[in-house]
């Protein structure tokens, strides 16, 4: 029923890629005999031309992805080809330049290309791994359901805390208010918990994983005197336990979702830089060699 990027069409593009690599090596080895390998031989030009075509075609994905009216092929097929053929580029480009590197525009283009490819490879890893993690993290609860459960937990907490003394009530309210999800970019990315709470006597404290409130409640339970109070405190304990869990899942979800997209922020601009460097490289070769 379902087929992923790598498995598309019986891995047809993997075979294409293998073919490209073998051919490139074959072409490369034909030059050793006559003159030393370099980008300047006809083989070098050939490999270079192939590389440029590949890069242009790989960049075209940005347009193809948004050509929604196009009737040819599925985007999955395009991405599959993009990935497999993209991975042949390090080989083709390296053979093209015949391992000659330096501090010049040519090597800059090469480096940018490698950067695009590395970011792409990371992106592929993310695409393959993170969806499963998201599923596991969701535990069959849609985000709306999760938010609804959080809401009802908060309500339960307020109700229960209303029956307790002012200290507990204040602590609970502050913990609810100062629970955070998201925050700064880094906080989101790393799913950091910046929650805080205001406890009696101790003032503003760090409440990551709702630990501080939970500890506070735990300490209070043994020395309750009023009837029913212990029961309320234990209800609160359960609520905060569950809340910590839900908030953690929510943060993890946001972080995973962010990371699923973030790599493209490198992949795409680097592509533009690469295209610019590539033009410079080609112009330099033809006019100043």
């Amino acid at each position: 029923m379902y087929q992923g990027i790598l498995g598309h069409g019986g891995r047809r593009y993997a075979w294409w890629a293998a073919f490209l690599i073998v051919t490139s090596f074959a072409v490369y080895w034909t030059q050793a005999a006559s003159e030393p390998p370099s980008g300047g031989t006809w083989q070098g030009y050939g490999l270079g031309g192939l590389g440029v075509l590949l890069i242009l075609w790989l960049s075209w994905l940005g347009i193809r992805k948004r050509s929604y009216r196009r009737a040819s092929g599925t985007l999955r097929g395009w991405v599959s080809a993009h990935v497999y053929l993209g991975l042949t580029l390090p080989v083709i480009a390296t053979l093209h330049c015949a391992f000659q590197f330096g501090l010049n525009i040519h090597t800059l283009a090469y480096a940018l290309m490698m950067a695009v490819i590395l970011s792409g490879a990371y992106g592929l890893y993310v695409y393959l791994r993170f969806p499963n993690r998201l599923v596991a993290n969701r535990e069959d609860q849609s985000r709306d359901d999760l938010l609804a459960e959080l809401d009802s937990l908060d309500q339960t907490a307020l109700d229960a805390a209303g029956q307790c003394d002012d200290g507990v009530y204040g602590a609970v309210c502050s913990a609810l208010e100062m629970s955070t999800v998201g925050g700064s970019f880094m906080d989101q990315l790393l799913a950091r918990d910046r929650s805080r709470a205001r406890l009696p006597e101790r003032g503003l404290v760090d409440n990551a994983q709702q630990r501080a409130v939970i500890d506070h409640l735990v300490e209070r339970i043994p020395d309750t005197s009023r009837g029913g109070e212990a029961e309320n405190l234990r209800a609160l304990l359960r609520v905060f336990g569950r809340r910590a869990e839900l908030l953690k899942r929510l943060r993890r979800e946001l972080s995973l979702e962010l990371r699923l997209k973030l790599w493209l922020v490198f992949h795409v601009p680097l592509t533009f830089a690469l295209l610019a460097a590539l033009i410079a490289h080609v112009v330099a070769v033809f006019f100043y060699w």
Binding site: M1, H8, E257
Partner: protein
């Protein structure tokens, strides 16, 4: 002597037009006193239209029909139309009484007594009943429920501010009102039950969130009812309400009460007036004769209540019925439409003769009233199959001439009307584009009207010639004039079984599903006729493919059809069984319980059997059968089953093989409980009735939303799928998007009949949508949105290069243009990209292959994947 010659009840479009016509007669006869009266229950004319949302664009479908009424009507905003009618009422001199709710009608022609609420009576010789089908709002049922303190309608929630308001009801209308009011008021919603089970998902989520959110000024009283009212002492003051709650009585002060308790269908009213209804359904409509008269002589029923759900139709009937009462034999407006419909047939007869001939020729239609038959033909296509190229091209040529003539006629009559209006100083009419005339359809002999596997639900009746049904693996059945076919798909919603091939010189009436269903609802005889043949052919298909279906008539009489609503149990594991079931429509979920765990072991669909083991050796039910959606099953007992097998012994091996397959599938499902859970989830979400649903594998989905973007980009800027809001289970996400149901609920009450299904199965809405929102309400899966047309966006390159405007995908903040606003909101939903060669854009645009479309038949493959 009666007070009036004609009393018209209900001032909707139908009633207005009738009363106006009656007023014209009065004027012609120079009557000193009006001999007609128009009684309207509410405070103003056309309550149904008054209740449309503000500024709604009212359409004048169907385009092929001309208006024939003293009152004006053309497409425009609700306000303009209501205004025109108000002026028309005055100008023509209609004798209207508002605030006159009719409770009951008594008597017959020449001698009717009309009882009004409040005890007054009015007498009349003829009564025209045009109260529509909206019904009257259900009242609170306590003293004071008719005072201004209680409102049964809320037009604009922002009209009130800083009030305490009680909303009574638990349906969508109550929830929407309550949520709207919380913006500026404090609201208490009173629910008779302990949950909001009737509401749509979106409203349900909304109300629960609002109840739980301490910041929203909304509270809920569950299991509570209004017991009494204490009316405010002066306008603007607060009154109070006494509620019956689980904790005893509670008194709540409030400024007003909004009661949204649904409406009482007019059925009860009709029965009280002695009007016979053909069957027990709440939506049953009275049977009428050629002059819209029901079984009570002199009592005429027109408009929506007569089964004509559009304004123009209602108005035309209004004029016609008064003409009838005055003894004028008018040719209905549709006369020329029928003329072209019959135009290519090889007869020298006029329309009425052809109609009479056809009605006589089909036993099932013979006893229908002429009016209903005429309507049936009007809504149907007439197909004519000819042999040979020459004959076909000859007809094609004739068709072109006929078409040109008809268009000419229309132009001509429009010019005449324009001139008349100009001379009498009326404002000129905005003519709409002339619609293609519906001519006789021509076929080549030997052609199939439908093919095996096609989705089409048209019902065919043969009036001349012959049709051969060729089912795969079965014998050929030849059908003669008077017989019909196509009822299987009509009733089950499943694709066609086999081809239907026409012989030379065959003439068919091809009736669309909606017309047929309406007819079956209104006419018991037609319903039984179709049902019986359906049963015979289904039994033949399943048990005796080598027999003729007519040979099964006696058995068909002895089997029983049963209905089960979604979730109802058909039989329970451990029961002893005495019959097997053949599914007529819908999907059944079979589950097996073991160690407290329930495992889905099968989901047979229409045309398939279940529970047959009870008659094949194991008398105890080994699983529970439950309706996954609303299902209809045919229960076959042992005696009939054995007889079927005896008559057709060669079908036994196939039956045994099927049963083996089912058992094998069941045992495989038991060994993969995860798969069974997924299938239970999908069935639980109504996928049993889907034919083409978008199902996303979350293990592959990267959340890029390219599917939604692609949808918007290929559908005028509005996405018809919502991925994020989809229901999730394990790694399956069921986005909110049309599933192209077997029997689309959305089609049920679409006034202009704008929802269709392609032979390949896609359910889609065409441009004639009038924006009434019925389909949005009727779709149980919440997939239809009412939207303005989205403004155009910059092209991809322009956006890429300049970064201006909204990129690909739906622009949630876009403001509709003036023109789009004037045209009004229309229903939009997924059409499965019916016109795209590459198939659904969502699937094509998914970069990871996570988005796939499937039907219950694919569930087995889904299991393979797990």
């Amino acid at each position: 002597m009666a007070d009036f010659h004609i009393a018209v009840l209900g001032a909707g479009p139908a009633g207005l037009s009738a009363a106006a016509r009656a007023a014209e007669y009065d004027r012609e006869n120079a009557a000193s006193q009006p001999t007609h009266v128009l009684l309207e229950g509410t405070a103003a004319h056309a309550n149904t239209i008054q209740r449309y949302q503000k500024g709604k664009h009212v359409m004048d479908e169907p385009g092929y029909l001309d208006l024939r009424s003293p009152m004006d009507f053309e497409a425009g905003t609700r306000e303009v139309i209501l205004d025109d009618w108000a002026q028309g009422l005055k100008a023509i001199g209609v004798n209207m009484r508002t605030g006159a709710t009719v409770n009951r009608i008594e008597g017959t022609r020449g001698n009717f007594t009309i009882h009004l609420a409040g005890g007054e009576t009015v007498t009349a010789e003829h009564v025209i009943l045009s109260i529509g089908t909206q019904g009257n709002p259900r009242r609170l049922g306590v003293a004071g429920d008719d005072s201004a303190f209680v409102q049964y309608q809320l037009d604009d929630p922002d009209e009130y501010a800083d009030e305490d308001i009680l909303v009574v009801g638990a349906g969508d209308a109550a929830i929407e009102n309550a949520l709207g009011l919380t913006r500026q008021n404090r609201v208490t919603i009173v629910n008779r039950k302990n949950e909001f089970s009737r509401a749509k998902q979106g409203n349900l989520d909304g109300i629960l969130a609002a109840i739980n959110d301490p910041a929203t000024p909304l509270t809920c009283r569950y299991q509570s009812q209004v017991k009494a009212l204490q009316l405010p002492t002066a306008a603007g003051q607060a009154g109070s309400v006494i509620l019956d709650t689980p904790d005893g009585e509670e008194t709540l002060p409030c400024h007003r009460i909004i009661a949204r308790l649904g409406s009482i269908p007019p059925r009860g009213f009709l029965e009280d007036c002695g009007i016979a209804l053909p069957n027990a359904s709440a939506e049953a409509l009275p049977e009428l004769d050629g002059q819209y008269q029901c079984n009570v002589a002199g009592l005429h029923v027109i408009g929506a209540l007569a089964g004509y759900p559009l304004i123009k139709q209602a108005m035309n009937q209004g004029q016609d019925v008064v003409d009838f009462i005055h003894g004028k034999a008018v040719k209905p407006v549709e006369h020329p439409l029928l003329q072209v419909k019959f135009g290519l047939l090889p007869y020298e007869a006029d329309v009425d003769e052809v109609l009479a001939l056809y009605q006589q020729r089909v036993p099932m239609f013979a006893r229908m009233n002429a009016l209903a038959f005429r309507e049936l033909i009007l809504e149907s296509d007439i197909l004519y199959a000819v042999d040979g190229r020459a004959a076909y091209t000859g007809l094609e040529k004739q068709a072109r001439t006929l078409r040109a003539q008809r268009l000419d006629d229309i132009e001509h009559s429009r010019r005449n009307e324009d001139r008349k209006r100009h001379e009498t100083g009326m404002k000129p009419k905005q003519w709409r584009d002339i619609e293609e005339p519906a001519l006789t359809g021509i076929l080549r002999a030997g052609e199939a009207v439908y093919r095996h596997g096609e989705y089409s639900t048209t019902f065919y009746t043969i009036v001349e010639g012959e049709v051969t049904l060729k089912s795969p693996g079965g014998p050929e059945t030849r059908l003669q004039p008077g017989q019909f076919f196509g009822e299987m798909s009509l009733l089950s919603g499943r694709p066609r079984l086999g081809d239907a091939v026409v012989a030379p010189d065959t003439i068919l009436i091809a009736t669309p599903r909606r017309t047929m269903l309406k007819l079956m609802a209104a006419n018991g005889e037609v319903a039984t006729g179709i049902e019986t043949v359906f049963l015979q052919r289904t039994l033949q298909q399943c048990f005796a493919p080598s027999l003729s279906y007519t040979a099964l008539r006696d058995i068909a009489r002895r089997v029983e059809t049963r209905h089960f609503n979604r979730g109802e149990v058909i039989y329970e594991q451990g029961d002893s069984g005495d019959c097997l079931y053949l599914i007529r429509s819908g999907t059944v979920a079979l589950t097996y319980r073991e160690n407290g765990r329930s495992i889905a072991v099968g989901h047979p669909q229409s045309g398939e059997l279940f529970g047959q083991l009870a008659l094949m050796g194991d008398a105890v039910r080994r699983e529970t059968a439950r309706a996954a959606v609303r299902v209809e099953v045919i229960a076959i007992k042992r005696a009939e089953f054995l007889e079927l097998l005896k008559r057709s012994p060669d079908s036994v091996p196939a039956l045994q093989a099927d049963t083996r397959d089912q058992l094998l599938h069941a045992s495989r499902m038991e060994s993969v409980p995860e798969a069974s859970d997924v299938i239970s989830f999908l069935l639980g979400r109504g996928l049993g009735e889907a034919t083409d649903a978008l199902v996303i594998d979350e293990n592959l989905c990267v959340g890029c939303d390219n599917c939604e973007i692609a949808c918007a980009e290929t559908h005028n800027g509005i996405s018809r799928l919502n991925r994020k809001a989809g229901a999730r289970f394990a790694h399956i996400n069921l986005p909110i998007a049309c599933r192209h149901c077997e029997q689309p609920h959305c089609m049920k009450e679409c006034p202009p009949n704008a929802i269709h299904r392609k032979p390949s199965g896609e359910v889609f809405i065409d441009d004639s949508c009038i924006g009434c929102g019925n389909c949005e309400t009727n779709c149980p899966y919440d997939v239809i949105r009412m939207e303005y047309q989205a403004p155009p966006k910059p092209g991809l390159l322009q956006w890429l290069l300049t970064g201006r405007g909204h990129g690909p995908g739906e622009d949630a903040k876009a403001q509709p243009s003036k023109k789009a606003k004037a045209a009004g909101k229309k229903a939009v939903k997924c059409d499965a990209c019916k016109d795209r060669k590459a198939g659904p854009a969502c699937v094509q645009a998914c970069p990871t292959g996570a988005a796939v479309r499937l039907s219950p038949a694919d569930f087995a493959d889904l299991v393979e994947d797990l």
